[in-house]
């Protein structure tokens, strides 16, 4: 199933919307084709002297979203690409984009479920695309998202997630705030994993995305809880 060559394409910024104090949603238009939920794209920026910087970003939008391809770009201190999006990029600007890329951390409604999604911080982004893909197709595949953030204000698209949990049959959300509220000091732990597994049943697919330590800890807990390693897909940022 080898793909054809993956070309660099021009993508126009169609919208920039802050979604948390540190993260902006950036929508790109003018792109043909679609993607599979969970995939990423690469962006390339070019300076007048020819210097180029490339970075990878997970896709947040559902496949085929008419509003364009949505990425969530965090204003990382000192990051040359993230600071371009934080401080310079405007609607109408063009960058180069390549992809979609990735054939492992992906889910489509026809892959079925139950599906357990576990995201830490901006690791929720590819999981958001899966949730949206599920809703777009009217799928009722059981899906449960455990989303761990330090504070509620850092949760990306919290209102959308809560509305989906309220309105979409078969989708449940566990939002964990590790530094405030009733769950301060708690992390995704054995009890939380077991509760989730009791709730949705034996998962056919588990997707874990976040920082390195988070993903390592959570995937070990999943294996300890009896989930088959082959059912668990992981993605870590900083990679």
């Amino acid at each position: 199933m080898a793909a054809d060559r993956v070309p660099w394409r021009k993508a126009r910024i169609g919208a920039i919307t802050p979604v948390t104090p540190r993260v902006k949603s950036v929508r790109f238009t003018g792109l043909d084709g679609t993607h599979r939920a969970g995939q990423h794209v690469e962006l390339r920026l070019t300076a007048p002297d020819g210097y180029q910087a490339q970075r990878s970003y997970s896709i947040a939008s559902a496949p085929g979203d008419a509003d364009g391809l949505e990425l969530m770009i965090e204003g990382l201190t000192g990051g040359e690409v993230s600071s371009y999006f934080a401080d310079i990029a405007e609607v109408g600007d063009e960058v180069e984009l390549r992809g979609p890329i990735g054939g492992s951390f992906v889910w489509s409604p026809e892959d079925g479920g139950p599906v357990l999604l576990i995201g830490g911080g901006s690791g929720v982004v590819p999981l958001l695309s899966m949730l949206r893909a599920r809703a777009e197709t009217g799928s009722e595949t059981p899906m449960l998202l455990i989303y761990s953030v330090r504070e509620a204000a850092e949760a990306i698209l919290r209102e959308e997630l809560e509305a989906r949990a309220r309105d979409e049959p078969g989708f449940d959300l566990t939002l964990l705030t590790t530094r405030e509220g009733a769950t301060a000091g708690r992390r995704v732990d054995r009890v939380m994993i077991e509760t989730a597994l009791d709730h949705i049943g034996k998962p056919r697919h588990v997707f874990v995305c976040g920082g390195n330590a988070f993903v390592g800890t959570v995937s070990d807990l999943l294996v300890d809880a009896g989930v088959k390693p082959g059912a668990i897909r992981t993605e870590r940022f900083g990679g």
Binding site: A2, V6, I88, L222, G230, I232
Partner: protein, 201 residues
């Protein structure tokens, strides 16, 4: 295509000279893997060389430790864009593994396998002449599990997805057979200096 308003922060010339196109330097050591870290210890680890389905030889950890060991220090490059300089590894070179079996390679291609069932292909020519080893130590210590310990392949002149973690064996193949990523759009060879990230690059 110049990006309006972007200047970036190009690396200094000495760093830039060591970075393949599209890469940037990182000081930490990011972790990339498909799933959970498999539970492999020195007690349960073994390495098997096969010609197609036919086993040629297997080594336990203790047997492998008795083979001649090689050191290598240099730069590694991940297809996700990071490069890390001056990494120090020790292990058993492919040449010494072959010498221990006492054979010449039966084919020109190999497919490596990990304990997590990950696979990747590397041509025999890229393994010989001291260009590849099964590494059993990193920076003078056992390789941490999330970096592939107890043993991983090291083929540092190719993108790092060609250096599978928790390596459990290699199979000589008649044809150049793609592995996990190569069947999912990634390049069959993966030379960072020619920026062979994806099929057709």
């Amino acid at each position: 295509m110049v990006t309006r308003g972007f200047t970036g922060r190009p690396p200094k010339a000495d760093v830039a000279a060591r970075l393949p196109p599209g890469q940037y330097l990182t000081e930490d050591f990011p972790v990339l893997q498909l799933g959970p870290t498999p539970r492999v210890t020195e007690e349960t680890w073994s390495f098997t060389l096969r010609d197609g389905p036919r086993p040629l030889k297997s080594w336990t950890w203790a047997e492998f430790a008795r083979l001649p060991h090689t050191r290598w220090k240099g730069d590694i490059h991940c297809v996700t864009k990071w490069s890390k300089f001056d990494t120090a590894w020790e292990g058993v070179s492919f040449d010494d593994i072959l010498a221990d079996v006492g054979i010449e390679p039966p084919t020109d291609f190999t497919l490596f396998e990990g304990f997590d069932d990950y696979t990747t292909n590397v041509p025999v020519a890229d393994l010989r002449g001291g260009r590849a080893m099964v590494a059993t130590s990193y920076e003078g210590k056992p390789i941490p599990p999330d970096h592939g310990g107890p043993a991983r392949l090291l083929v540092p002149h190719l993108y790092f997805w060609k250096s599978p973690k928790w390596v459990k064996g290699l199979r000589f193949t008649r044809k150049d057979e793609g592995g996990f990523w190569e069947l999912r759009g990634y390049h069959m060879y993966g030379d960072p200096w020619r920026e062979q990230r994806f099929t057709g690059d």
